[in-house]
Point group: D2
Chain length 102, copies 4
């Protein structure tokens, strides 16, 4: 099952500077081979269900191994059976609507 995910990880108990932990997760996602796109409030990830959730689990394991005692994560996920759709398709659909109905 193909899934498009938005993933935000919030390390708790390691102070206010979180970018080093987010960068560690970016490397894990990049190594996973999944299509990823970082944005200001999380990372969009696209791929097969098992691969996506294995990567998210690896992020939790890695951050705990780096000394993060507690983690809060938000995942938004979308699946559809009516047609195949990528993250690029989603952005293209909205872009087309913005042009034509402007």
């Amino acid at each position: 099952m193909h899934v498009i995910v938005d993933f935000t990880i919030v390390p708790i108990g390691v102070g206010v500077s979180l970018s080093g932990y987010v960068a560690a997760c970016e490397r894990i996602l990049a190594e996973s081979g999944l299509t990823c796109q970082l944005h200001a409030n999380g990372t969009n990830v696209e791929g097969e269900w098992e691969a996506v959730f294995a990567a998210i689990r690896r992020c939790h394991e890695t951050l705990h191994a780096m000394g993060v005692p507690r983690i809060h994560t938000d995942v938004k996920l979308g699946t559809r059976t009516d047609r195949a759709q990528t993250m690029a398709d989603k952005l293209a659909s909205i872009g087309k609507k913005l042009e034509t109905n402007g």
Copy 2:
């Protein structure tokens, strides 16, 4: 890895009445043997990472098989390594604070 999850599933493309789909997911979660607690905006689920995400995946598969063409799901998840904690523990901690600092 033990995980506490809040899970909200939003079937898209099947009208505005969603309770039948939510009830189908409640049955899947109940059959999974995981500790679950339905609330007005989702369901709290607690257990081992793989079992929890397998149950969520089963909800997606089941709703698609029921004819839902598109699904949006929100998952909030917490893991911690400093101590074991259940959903009941979380509620008890807050309850204790409400009593003593009232």
Copy 3:
């Protein structure tokens, strides 16, 4: 506009024990007169849009005043125009489906 919200506040930079901060927010929500229900991963709140978001803002202001330097909050919110619906209605609908299609 009537809104049903699920609200989860995550104080960052104050260690791993968060229940005191969650309890402070519970008191703010209780004083607001809004219908509220605490659960293991957040609080469900129901009321008029302005009152609900004013209460959430008050939670942020209060936690910052308590010394929390950074806050991450998740809000899920639902509005509908086809009919009036309360949080109790939502739970009752699912309950009825669980009984009849069991």
Copy 4:
């Protein structure tokens, strides 16, 4: 209070094609004068608390006026008092960590 938000709106009861509704919200956000960045699973918005939530409310009102009977929205929001931070700052911090610890 300055807030950085990630906003995802899910119209319910109008079929599976949602891009026209998302485009309508993009126009509202653009007209609001707030700093916005669309991504594959939502839109990042930055500004003063009242202006940001007024824009989100306007999105709900507009979509209901377009005939959407039910809406589910996810908002992730961050505030901090230790220092001023923009969405561009967040991305720059992560980028710097990715370069130096690569």
